[in-house]
């Protein structure tokens, strides 16, 4: 095999599984170390640089980082990354003097943004400091988009939203509340230099079964949540059926319990392994005694005299093999009585207000044609991001879309090619302090994942707005931070220094190192000390070693970054170095002057 090119930022980035898994590439291990040192402000700012809404995401992020977390491979559960993010947000002091500032002198470019959700807000966050004038059109009377009215307040308190959205709007964003954009053509005629569509995926999917329109008590999940959020709905029947098992369904059933429902059943068509909801959201719903009923496929709404009586279901049986359904069969039927039904079977974006003859093309499913790298539509100067771009994803994806779209908008406004994007930059710094001393906590702590404390069941139903999760206490935080393996403190190998004494091979607690003759990948995999269990994990092959012309091979899969290889190396051929990755944002393109340092330059690596 060829020598691995570790100067390519992707190699070490991939080793930091959480950062690789995060759409916005948040430097997770870095901020966890800062939390461990009690530097909550710094931890918050590291977060904010990439994900913009640490307090919000610290509660409701979809957490793609956690399933990716290396800790989950050797322990039952990954590091509670999301909960630690909330710790940084909850315990930060006043960080307002470290926020980006918009200059008084504008650069003369005007950007219109449609919808005040996470994608548009991120674009404003990135463009306001560069002197752009951002105008946001929001149909509702408040900002936040789905974060505000689709996520219940008992999971995400309005105070947290107000604070973090305020940081952006306070830069002087011109936000027009209660202003629904009715025509893209009209907007285009208003002379904006660029338009960003961040209008989300606001249309809940229908379930067109017999009886759907014969009774009133059948609700579309996201619309119903919105009505609850704005106080238009404050009650629901005693027996509620929620159709669908995504995260919205979990929010619907938990909200129902707070509005007077006594018995809530989540009706799933398929077995549990096919559920779309995140494991932790299912767990939280079940803790509140929501009943999850599997293998029930809805067939009809049963309505008598205009009043909903219940629903009829087909009982399903599936042949499942290796996580795939091979066959299914209806084995019977069942009537389940209820007072209300909430449909939470998905949502989609919809653009009835975009004319089809203005150069913005749509695909066969009425989805806009959007470039995956530049976020530009087929009409120059019109950009899409968030759920509006590629259908429903999540908040953290919307933030990343916002960052990328901001870069494109900046390039567009300056007349440069949208394809001329800056590369990711990698900086490596040794973490060696002295004999057996590293500037990070390199020992392995076998402690299990800390459990989030919740408000007692009887308490939480008293008020719709009582936040259920209490956050980690000091002791839990101190223990959880030690579970992080510091994957960003990389094992860096210099082949010319190696004397092949085997010390690193012997001390490695997970046997991830091997010195062996070079060969094809399959051939070498067979000779490694430990089996290769995750073929997708990075695989390091050094250049030829001086004495025997063999090569050093490392399977990154199980490496716990304990630094023992570097500690036992007599020639410092192994070193532990922090990989600091810089992901370009609009501010890094040097297009406009800013009155303050961009947050990425204020950053101190810990």
């Amino acid at each position: 095999m060829k020598r691995t090119d570790t100067s390519n930022p992707d190699y070490f980035h991939k080793v930091v599984d959480c950062q690789w898994g995060c759409p916005a590439h948040t430097d997770v291990p870095e901020y966890i170390r800062l939390i461990a040192q009690g530097r909550f402000d710094d931890a918050y700012m590291v977060n904010r640089e990439s994900n913009v809404f640490p307090g919000i995401l610290g509660r409701v992020c979809d957490r793609p980082c956690e399933p990716a977390c290396r800790r989950g491979r050797m322990d039952e559960k990954p590091v509670a990354i999301c909960r630690l993010k909330r710790v940084a947000a909850d315990h930060r002091g006043d960080i307002t003097d470290r926020l980006p500032i918009a200059p008084d002198r504008k650069n003369g470019k005007r950007v219109a943004l449609i919808g005040a959700g996470p994608a548009s807000l991120t674009v404003c966050n990135d463009l306001m400091p560069l002197g752009y004038e951002c105008t946001v059109f929001e149909a509702q009377a408040v900002a936040g988009g789905l974060m505000r009215y689709n996520i219940p307040s008992f999971r995400l308190p309005p105070k947290v939203l107000d604070e973090e959205i305020g940081y952006i709007l306070d830069m002087g964003v011109d936000i027009r509340f209660n202003h629904r954009v009715a025509s893209m053509r009209d907007l285009l005629e208003q002379g904006f230099d660029a338009i960003f569509v961040g209008s989300g995926a606001p249309r809940g999917k229908e379930l067109k079964l017999p009886g759907r329109y014969d009774a009133e008590n059948i609700h579309i999940g996201i619309d119903w949540l919105e009505s609850v959020a704005f106080g238009h709905v404050d009650a629901i029947g005693e027996r509620v059926l929620v159709i669908g098992v995504g995260n919205t369904a979990m929010d619907c059933c938990r909200t129902s319990l707070r509005l007077g429902a006594k018995s809530v059943k989540v009706m799933a068509r398929k077995p549990r392994e096919f559920f779309k909801a995140s494991a932790w959201e299912l767990e939280d719903a079940e803790e509140e005694r929501v009943e999850i009923v599997v293998n029930h496929s809805p067939r009809a709404f049963v309505v008598e005299n205009g009043k909903l009586k219940g629903m009829m279901f087909d009982l399903m049986e599936y042949v499942v093999e290796n996580g795939r359904i091979l066959d299914q069969e209806v084995t019977g039927e069942e009537f389940i009585a209820c007072d209300d039904v909430v449909l939470a079977i998905g949502q989609e974006n919809a653009f009835p207000w975009i004319e089809r003859d203005i150069g913005i093309e749509f695909g066969p499913w009425e989805e806009p044609v959007v470039d995956k790298a530049t976020y530009e539509s087929t009409r120059s100067g019109v950009f899409f991001g968030g759920d509006a771009a590629f259908g429903p994803l999540n908040i953290i994806w919307a933030v990343e879309h916002g960052h990328q779209a901001a870069i494109s908008i900046d390039l567009h406004c300056r007349g440069e090619s949208l394809r001329d994007r800056l590369p990711v930059q990698l900086q490596m710094d040794s973490r060696k302090m002295g004999m057996h001393e590293w500037s990070y906590s390199n020992s392995f702590d076998p402690i299990a994942r800390r459990k989030m404390m919740h408000v007692a069941l009887e308490k939480r139903f008293e008020n719709l707005h009582t936040e259920v999760e209490l956050g980690f206490d000091a002791e839990q935080t101190a223990q959880e931070v030690e579970r992080c393996l510091n994957c960003d403190i990389q094992t860096v190998f210099t082949d010319s220094l190696c004397i092949e004494c085997d010390a690193c091979l012997d001390i490695c607690p997970v046997q991830c190192l091997t010195i062996t003759a070079n060969g094809s990948r399959d051939n070498m995999v067979a000779r490694l000390k430990a089996p290769v269990l995750e073929p997708d994990q990075p695989f390091f092959v050094s250049g030829e070693l001086k004495q025997t012309a063999r090569v050093m091979v490392k399977d990154e899969n199980f490496c716990i970054h304990c630094g023992l290889c570097a500690e036992r190396c007599p020639t410092a051929a192994w070193d532990m170095q922090k990989s600091l990755l810089s992901f370009p944002q609009a501010a890094g393109y040097g297009g406009a002057s800013t009155s303050s340092e961009p947050p990425c330059q204020q950053r101190k690596a810990g």
Partner: protein, 351 residues
């Protein structure tokens, strides 16, 4: 100096041996030798060999004297017995332990100072007595604990780290052992694990005193240019005379093993040492041939490695002394101590 202990992590895909033990179960405490010491590599090879052979930790005794080498028994098989004796006196303690309990597997670990200087006399006699043990010499050519003076195994003409040239002739461990009548002797290099592990297994299985001289570079005092026991020098001058493999009892000996010039040596416990000659003009079963071969290559500046001499017919200590077949601890008290009348009868017979 603070060390972190080697973390204990249960990983998926880990193998177990016949006793259900993992490789980690054969490790010991964290080494305090210099980073990169050859001794640590030998320790790791021992861990590997003992694990592969499924040796019960409680049936193992680890014996040593004084020196860097003699610290190493602490670094493998924490569940085994151990004895850290006086400088150069490991062989007599090992002899005693082996005499009392012949079922134990005895590994004596010594160094070039411990065996070739202060313990040279004991080294000769444990070979003559053919005590059933693995006698392992971690040979680095210097006194590491006293900061790098030449040891008795340092080659004439090699230089110390400060430039001093060694004028004295060296003691050739392997040739000395052969001339003392050893029943099994080999030489290996700590940096060649593929050769070392099977050699260790054969030596442990051998029913007699198996001496292994293992070149084990001292990274701190003897890994410079001018040293003849550095990693680089040993790799460059190493000449493998034989390849060894140990086939456990009852295991099928595959036909492919017999390819080339392979010589099977069947041991009393039913296992077989397969000896493949890497060099056709070498015969590890004839003393004069082995000694001549060693001398020929020494003159060429080559370090001959592999199993270099084996003789299955040398009687071990228990046969020589006609001792009882049962370990003393398992004997009935009346058999072990037949009383004063029996003693008197014995003494009368000697008059």
């Amino acid at each position: 100096m603070t060390f972190i202990p080697k973390p204990q992590i249960d990983l998926p895909g880990q193998h177990e041996n016949d006793l259900g033990l993992s490789l980690r179960d054969y490790e010991g405490s964290l080494s305090t030798l210099c980073a990169g010491c050859g001794h640590d590599s030998i320790t790791a090879a021992l861990v590997q060999a003992l694990w592969e052979m499924s040796i019960r930790p409680e049936m193992l005794i680890k014996m040593s004297g004084i020196g860097c080498s003699s610290k190493t028994p602490a670094y493998f098989v924490h569940g085994a017995h151990g004895f850290n004796s006086v400088h150069g006196r490991m062989p007599s303690v090992a002899t005693g332990a082996s005499a009392a309990n012949r079922d134990l597997i005895c590994i004596g670990i010594s160094g070039d100072g411990d065996s070739l200087s202060i313990g040279f006399g004991q080294f000769g006699h444990v070979i003559r007595r053919n005590v059933n043990m693995l006698y392992l010499i971690e040979n680095n050519g210097v006194y590491g604990l006293t900061k790098g003076q030449f040891s008795a195994s340092a080659d004439a003409g090699s230089t110390a780290k400060n430039g001093t040239v060694n004028q004295m002739q060296n003691i050739n461990t392997v040739a000395t052992a052969i001339s003392m009548g050893v029943s099994f002797v080999g030489r290996a290099f700590s940096g060649d694990r593929e050769q070392l592990v099977p050699l260790l297994k054969a030596a442990i299985a051998h029913p007699g005193c198996a001496v292994l001289d293992i070149i084990s570079p001292c990274v701190t005092f003897n890994n410079h240019e001018g040293s003849t026991k550095s990693y680089a020098y040993t790799r460059e001058h190493k000449k493998q005379a034989t390849e060894t493999d140990l086939v456990p009892p009852r295991a099928e000996i595959k036909a492919s093993y017999y390819a080339g010039d392979t010589h099977p040596v069947r041991l009393h416990d039913g296992s077989t040492i397969l000896l493949k000659k890497a060099d056709p003009d070498y015969d590890p079963t004839r003393r004069n041939n082995a000694l001549a071969y060693l001398e020929r290559h020494r003159r060429r500046g080559q370090i001959v490695t592999g199993l270099l001499f084996i003789d299955q017919n040398v009687p071990d200590m228990h046969i020589q002394s006609r001792t009882v077949a049962t370990p003393l601890k398992d004997l009935d008290y009346r058999d072990l101590n037949p009383g004063s009348a029996a003693l008197e009868a014995l003494q009368r017979g000697m008059k």
